[in-house]
Every structure is written in structure tokens, then in C-alpha cells.
């Protein structure tokens, strides 16, 4: 499984995956979680925080099928804790250049089986940590489902509550701040059975995604080979 980062810059390369993501979000949050407020007749779950500034993660299996998604919003822009559920925080909502809000966490699907779902969950956490490393993010805020807290803790996240748990129609959740602890990565990668970074961020200029994806997977040439190749070129140039 790979996790692709989608930003406003490279969005046009992921039109199919973005549509699949909104359909998946509808499946998970409306059908499975029962959050009927998010329901839409066209089967696409889109809210006011899906803007050009939003960054998405899509988990794709080796066949390119979407196996999960996440989204993160910069804390210095309107996000859920500041503009939708301010009552969840008893203290001022942490905002700053090193803090992003994490939401719409949807790895896997009830119908996909334990193996895929477990892999997707791990991939999601690894991706969020690798993204934190790439952007200098120190912590993610968000509203965690009370029932998801044990799972988060098992993975290694240490959610710090920002307020008291709030009961809502379909469950209970609590605003949290999760430090982005990069030291979790080696263990998570071991559990996921991967040694390379999972996160793929394809540049906007890439005309073909496939070529870039393949290039990322091919390792760098051995130093000896590179030297020999350069020598051969120099020889030909001199003769």
C-alpha cells in the first residue's frame, strides 16, 4: 500500500481518486458511522472544510484501489475546532505554523477484511507522521471518537484532551492534541512490513503519475556502477 498526498498543486493528477475518496467518506461516515448530517443525495461527502487549502491522503493498494483516506487542514485557516465545534475545547484551540487539524480519518471498510483494514490503519498513521516530518508539523489536533482512543493509543499516538468528552447523537467524542512523535516510525514500519517511506507526493509538473511512481520505487544506482558509467562516457568523449 502507498499513501499519496494530494494538495491543490497536484490535484489534477488525482481526479479519480478524489471522487473515490468522497464516495468512500460517504460510505464510512454516513452509512457506517450514521452521521446523517453529512448525507448527500449524490453519494459524495464534501463539507465546508474541503477547500483548495486542504491536504488529503489517499491510501492506494497495488492495483490503485482506494483503501482509505485522511485529511489535514492548516490550523491557521478555518477548521472544525475553530469554526464548527468550538464548544469541544475548554481551552483556546492550539493554532500555529506547526499544528494542523486531522479529520475524516477513514482507513479501511467493514467489508474489506482484517488484513486490508489493519494495513490501511498502519499506513494512515505512518503517512501522517511522514507528512509531519516533511512540513515540520509538531502536533495534530482533531476530534477523536471516544471508541477510537484505544486504537490510537495502541498505534502509539498520545492524545491530550483539549476539553471534556461531548455526547452527540450517534456517540461521544473529545477534542485532542496529538504530538507528532517521529520516533514511532521505525516500530510502525516494522509492523507494516515496509522499510521504505510510504508517503508519495508527486509534483504538480508531472505529466504522468506512473512514471514518477516507478522512478520513486527504483533504487539509486550503486556507486560503483555510476562511476563506471561516467568513465565510459568520458572515454568515448576523449576518443
Amino acid at each position: 500500500m502507498d499513501v499519496h498526498v494530494i494538495t491543490a498543486a497536484n490535484r489534477s493528477l488525482y481526479l479519480d481518486e478524489i471522487a473515490a475518496m468522497h464516495r468512500h467518506r460517504h460510505e464510512i461516515f454516513v452509512k457506517y458511522y450514521g452521521w446523517t448530517a453529512l448525507e448527500s443525495p449524490d453519494g459524495l461527502e464534501i463539507d465546508e472544510f474541503d477547500t483548495p487549502h486542504t491536504v488529503y491522503f489517499v491510501i492506494l493498494d497495488k492495483d490503485g484501489q482506494l483503501r482509505g483516506c485522511d485529511r489535514v487542514i492548516p490550523s491557521w485557516r478555518p477548521h472544525m475546532l475553530t469554526h464548527l465545534f468550538p464548544e469541544y475545547a475548554d481551552r483556546p484551540v492550539p493554532i500555529g505554523p506547526a499544528i494542523w487539524e486531522w479529520s475524516r480519518h477513514a482507513p479501511g471498510h467493514p467489508d474489506w477484511g482484517d488484513q486490508i483494514n489493519r494495513q490501511a490503519r498502519l499506513a494512515s498513521s505512518i503517512a501522517l507522521l511522514e507528512f509531519a516530518a516533511s512540513r515540520g508539523i509538531e502536533a495534530y489536533t482533531g476530534i477523536l471518537e471516544a471508541r477510537a482512543l484505544p486504537m490510537a493509543a495502541r498505534v502509539g499516538w498520545r492524545p491530550e484532551p483539549l476539553g471534556a468528552p461531548v455526547r452527540y447523537g450517534e456517540g461521544e467524542s473529545v477534542a485532542c492534541l496529538c504530538p507528532a512523535d517521529l520516533s514511532l516510525l521505525p516500530r510502525l514500519r516494522r509492523l507494516a512490513g515496509v522499510s521504505e517511506p510510504l508517503l508519495i507526493e508527486i509534483p504538480a509538473q508531472a505529466k504522468a503519475r506512473r512514471a514518477v511512481e516507478l522512478a520513486l520505487k527504483i533504487g539509486p544506482p550503486q556507486a560503483a556502477d555510476a562511476e563506471a558509467a561516467i568513465d565510459a562516457v568520458l572515454q568515448r568523449a576523449q576518443s
Binding site: S12, L15, D16, I18, A19, H22, R23, S40, P41, D42, G43, L44, I46, D47, E48, D50, T51, P52
Partner: protein, 249 residues
């Protein structure tokens, strides 16, 4: 109607065409053409796509000054199916004058009803000039009047000339506007309207029923919206439009 008078009218038509070269907006062009067509007794004029380049019969209204309710009624009653003027426009570039069709007799019952209904909407005579385009598509310019138009040979030539130029200039202006719209990612009100209903889960047919246009016109608007948003499918268009704030959640 003397030949001299007809020739003077033709001369004035050339003058209008000269000025039409300089028209920079569809509104400007329509103003010019309005005066020109009025010389022949015509009040309304419209450019419509009869057939697209793939050979499909489409019936899409491009531009013109036309009674909206007649256009909607025409589509609703599916008059394009038995309107011989449409068939003839596609088959042959020669213009048709309604009065000639009616006089020729052998109108089907449906056609007699069509002419009768047009009359009820204030359209009692028409002159239709087909425009056969390079890629196999066929457009038509319909110029209509509330009274019978007295058109002699030179008048018909003048009307045909004005119609062909109106179609050319009008489509060029429209393409320019479309190109600018695409460059700026802007959607027209109709495109936004269709996407908004698609967001509400409505099919093209349902959208047509709701806003009173043909299903294929809805598809036409959505396809152009897709082009402007640089996407390929309807779902992708809805998503981009919502994200960019062009349609509401």
C-alpha cells in the same frame, strides 16, 4: 416590391455585415442584426445547432433574440421530430421559407399543428438558412415574423447572406467567450445550475424536467462545465465546483 427597392435593401445588408465585423460582444452583434432583419419584417432571430459533428440530432439554442416560451414549448412537444424544416436544413444548404412549405401542401397533421402553435406564439412566418459546417455539423439560422414576410428573389439572397454572417460572427464571439470562461475556470449560470442539481442527486433527465430544457441540453451544459473545470466526469465536476465555491454544498 420593385427590384430597385430590393437591391437597396441588399446594399444596406452589405453595410450591416461590414459593421458586424467590428462587433465585439454578442449584444452588439444582436443589436445590428435586429435592425437588419427588421427591414424584412422579421422580429425574432435565432441560431441553433441542428446536428453535431458526430451526426447526432441535437437542437441546441446558441444565441439570438427569441421568445423563450416558444423554444421551451418546441422542445417539450418534440416538434423537432416532425419539423421538415429541420430535416431539410440537415439534408441541404438551401434556405426554406415557411410560406413556401405551407403552400406546397402535403403537410402532415403534426406539421400543421406545429405551424398552428407557432402562430399562437406570435410566429406566423419564418425563413430558415442552414449552415453546413466544416466538421459535418449543421447549424441553422431562423428568422421569424409575426406577419407573413413578402420576400422576393433578391430579398431571399440578402436574408441568406445576413443569416450566414450572423451565424459565423456569433459563433466566433461565443467561442471567444467560452475560451475566456475556460481560461478563468468560470462557469455560466446554466452550467452552475445543472451542476447544482447534479449535486442534489438528479439525473440529466430530471434536471431537464426541473429547469425546463431538454435532457441533451443538460448534458451539453455539463460537458462544457467539465471542460472548463478540466475534469472528465460529472462527479469530478461537482467536486471541483463545490471545493471552489462555485456551487453550494
Amino acid at each position: 416590391m420593385t427590384l430597385l427597392v430590393q437591391e437597396e435593401r441588399l446594399e444596406r445588408a452589405f453595410g450591416v455585415i461590414d459593421r458586424a465585423f467590428a462587433a465585439s460582444t454578442p449584444e452588439e452583434l444582436d443589436q445590428l442584426m435586429k435592425g437588419a432583419f427588421a427591414e424584412f419584417g422579421a422580429r425574432f432571430f435565432s441560431v441553433d445547432q441542428m446536428r453535431d459533428s458526430s451526426g447526432a440530432i441535437v437542437g441546441i439554442h446558441h444565441f439570438g433574440q427569441w421568445p423563450d416560451d416558444w423554444g421551451a414549448h418546441y422542445i417539450e412537444q418534440r416538434h423537432y421530430l416532425h419539423d421538415r424544416v429541420v430535416r431539410h436544413a440537415i439534408a441541404c444548404p438551401r434556405p426554406r421559407h415557411w410560406v413556401d412549405e405551407q403552400r406546397a401542401g402535403n403537410l402532415s397533421h403534426a406539421e400543421k399543428r406545429l405551424f398552428g402553435e407557432a402562430g399562437e406564439f406570435g410566429l406566423r412566418d419564418g425563413f430558415v438558412t442552414p449552415v453546413h459546417q466544416m466538421d459535418g455539423a449543421v447549424a441553422a439560422v431562423a428568422v421569424t415574423a409575426s406577419e407573413k414576410m413578402s420576400l422576393h428573389a433578391v430579398d431571399k439572397a440578402a436574408l441568406r447572406l445576413l443569416s450566414i454572417y450572423y451565424c459565423s460572427f456569433g459563433l466566433l464571439l461565443k467561442q471567444g467567450i467560452d475560451a475566456k470562461g475556460r481560461a478563468r475556470n468560470v462557469l455560466t449560470p446554466r452550467q452552475r445550475e445543472c451542476l447544482q442539481w447534479a449535486r442534489a442527486g438528479k439525473s440529466s433527465w430530471e434536471i431537464g424536467e426541473i429547469i425546463g430544457i431538454a435532457e441533451r441540453t443538460v448534458n451539453f451544459h455539463i460537458e462544457e462545465a467539465c471542460r472548463r473545470l478540466n475534469v472528465t466526469t460529472r462527479q469530478q465536476a461537482v467536486i471541483e465546483a463545490v471545493i471552489k465555491g462555485m456551487i453550494s454544498l
